[in-house]
Subunit: 454 residues, 2 copies
């Protein structure tokens, strides 16, 4: 898209040469999304210097693309007067996010902003930021049902320009602001200009409630694929709208949480932002719980192995195959879990298909298990010149891998049926279960067949 | 959103009672996205029966929400005449996808469709389906730069209605269809009606090229957050546009691939759709390569353990702690990999921050390692009444976990620097590396300190 390192170099040259007019012109010529990529790579002093050179409009556009930390850093360090101007140019929802993140400073700014703007932002700040109310933009274009298409077009001309509104749909409300219907711009532009709005509006509206949680919001958007959805309160009064670009950010955060959870990193105890760069103790806290469960599980595995102490003493060579069995069982089991958990998340798998997937995965485990069992048998035979040992390790491998796919498929379904999130609980629990069962199978085979042969 | 099982039950009742008029009315009353959720849960004979009852418009809307397999299943089983009508109602890009998936049957249908429609669909089918050309919709509303706002509004009124066009932006082209600029509907509706298009259009256009790959397409959309982007050919001639809902589907597929790859499921050898429900041998093929790498790696681990045969023979009890060390090392290492790979993917981590993250993760590994080392020491001491064994296992645990975070952090950065995709290569390679190094550390500690003490 563009060569960021070259641009950074160019900016540093201009700063060093003190040719700030030139720098100002070049910076204001970039698309704000490109500027955001550039700003991430600048040092914080350079960042501030460049930010000061931006026009207010451009600065406001840029702020929307920046991370919360960088928004607070830049707006907190520039002149308060300019910062207020920039914040007023932001859509209400973005302004509320920025001011909410600025904490006490945010209050100070709110007092300085135009009254109507600050009142609306204050109302937004009363909603939980993980709900539709905290995500929505309250600036929505509304019309009455008895207006004609021409009236609406004239209304848009005045209103949308003045209030810097996003335009996707026009919402039809009554005098008490109850939501009655929705008209798309496309419908508006292709209908006769004297037609009444109530004749072209859709009244079976997909809508969100201010208290809906963000994961429900993303589910509804993903399912219906609208550009924007209206948000209403308990009495069906229109409070705002959520647009697809807000949802795009939410989906990215949800995906990150899903991926974190799959490797046992808790996003419930600690905020997702904290885990990568925040306080180290918070990261430790997020990562310890499932490791602790693993620890308990592995102690069971240690106990299983301990149960076969005499076998180990009689034939210490069998011990060296333990990591091989555990490693491959764990990997193929993790593959099964990953497929099931992701399948639930995309809707490709539902509870009713449990049996199909368990049997299918069992076959896959059996195929790969037999293949790998034979490889291991051949390798062990060739290496240790001990065919009996090779056969036992090979059979243990085949059983282990088959069993791992079954456990790895069954558990997510069982958790889902018990209404426990399989993404959260599956990984570490299954890994240790596979270790425990795998070792039990292996040592039973060894003590039953190998010790007797010897 | 809605109670699917109840609706399914209701539909089955209506089918059994043969009250098909009632069923027809109810089915046509659902939102097509809701219908799609219902259809997934029906048996295939019920699905076909319900599909036959839908109005053509509703059926076309529904088809867009269905999986490719189900599209082909339903359209292939109904009357050809009706299927043609439904296909003609689809946007060109969706029609091309459906007809492409129908293979030979698709050709038959193409011959029966209206000439202009089939010609456009045929052109779409010439593009690689993973490129912007294969994703785009060729039906785009274009205007000339010397038209006035009023001309454009009149043009939209005739054109958008007739050709069932999606409307986000109006694209300005010259006589040879070269892309000159773009005007948003919002700008159009808020500008004076006698203003010339060339005065309000934006000419610094973010655009895509027909040959751009889908991952580039999603990157551009994610970065700039536009609703729609124009697609041009080598000569800047406008060929179509891609809308955000097309991209939403692409992002979901990309995320699935990222998640699959993290557990060593190859999406390069086998199509992502095949892995969950397709031919079992394809699934085996997708899952075997990294398991095979794991097998080789674990054989190295077996060799390391073999090197300490005499230690194992002298003190067989040490063997039982191997799964404990491997399990926890593997888990915490996987957490580090997951954080880095996801960070690269969201852009939160760049190569320049390698040192920061390696050191940060090392500290986290050290904290958790010391904590878990002490737990393991205490547990082993209490259980085996052997303080020396407890100390050695505890120290091995602390070293193992710290080392696992360092390897788990360093490797993705190293792969990224070498231009290898860290998502693909990290998981299985690191898990076995951690096993190998962890066992070496453990056995070295045991043979150095424990054997001597005894």
């Amino acid at each position: 898209m563009m060569n960021v390192p070259n641009i950074i170099e160019r900016i540093r040259e201009l700063i060093n040469d003190d040719t700030l007019d030139q720098l100002k012109e070049e910076l204001n010529g970039y698309h704000s999304a490109d500027l955001a990529d550039i700003f991430v790579e600048l040092r914080s002093d350079e960042r501030l210097e460049c930010f000061r050179l931006l026009d207010v409009e451009k600065a406001a556009e840029l702020v929307e693309y920046l991370s919360p930390q960088m928004q607070v850093e830049l707006l907190g360090d520039i002149d308060e007067e300019v910062a207020s101007k920039i914040i007023t140019k932001l859509p209400h929802d973005a302004a509320a996010d920025v001011l909410g993140d600025m904490e006490e400073d945010g209050e100070t700014y709110l007092d300085k902003l135009p009254h109507k703007f600050s009142a609306e932002v204050r109302e937004l700040l009363t909603y939980n930021e993980d709900t539709a109310g905290g995500i929505m933009n309250p600036a929505v274009l509304t019309v009455n049902s008895d207006m004609s298409v021409l009236d609406v077009l004239n209304h848009i001309r005045i209103k949308a320009e003045k209030d810097n509104m996003e335009l996707y749909y026009v919402y039809v409300v009554d005098k008490q602001n109850h939501l009655l219907g929705v008209v798309s711009l496309r419908k508006l532009l292709t209908s006769p200009i004297n037609q009444k709005v109530e004749d072209i509006m859709i009244s079976d509206i997909v809508k969100l409630h201010v208290d809906d949680y963000s994961d429900y919001v993303t589910d509804v958007f993903t399912k219906y694929q609208y550009n924007a959805l209206p948000v209403v309160d308990l009495y069906n009064r229109l409070k705002g709208m959520i647009t697809w670009d807000d949802v795009q950010d939410l989906v990215e955060v949800e995906t990150t949480e899903e991926i974190y959870q799959s490797s046992g990193i808790s996003t419930e105890l600690v905020d997702e932002d904290e885990i990568l760069t925040g306080n180290i103790l918070h990261s430790v806290r997020a990562r310890t719980p499932w490791l602790f469960i693993t620890l308990l599980g592995e102690f069971v595995a240690v106990n299983v192995a301990h149960h076969f102490d005499s076998t180990l003493a009689a034939l210490p060579i069998v011990a060296i195959f333990m990591p091989l069995l555990a490693g491959l069982g764990g990997n193929i089991g993790t593959q099964s879990i990953t497929l099931m958990v992701r399948g639930f998340s995309t809707g490709q798998i539902t509870l009713s298909s449990a049996l199909y997937h368990i049997i299918r995965e069992m076959f896959i485990g059996l195929c790969i298990g037999i293949l790998f069992g034979m490889l291991v048998m051949a390798a062990t035979w060739g290496w240790q010149h001990n065919i009996e040992l090779g056969v036992v390790v090979g059979i243990a491998m085949a059983i282990n891998m088959t069993m791992a796919t079954v456990i790895g498929t069954f558990t997510p379904f069982a958790l889902k049926a018990l209404k426990v999130d399989p993404a959260v609980a599956s990984g570490p629990v299954i890994a240790t279960t596979i270790d425990v069962v795998g070792l039990a199978v292996y040592f039973t085979l060894v003590s039953t067949f190998l010790i007797k042969i010897i």
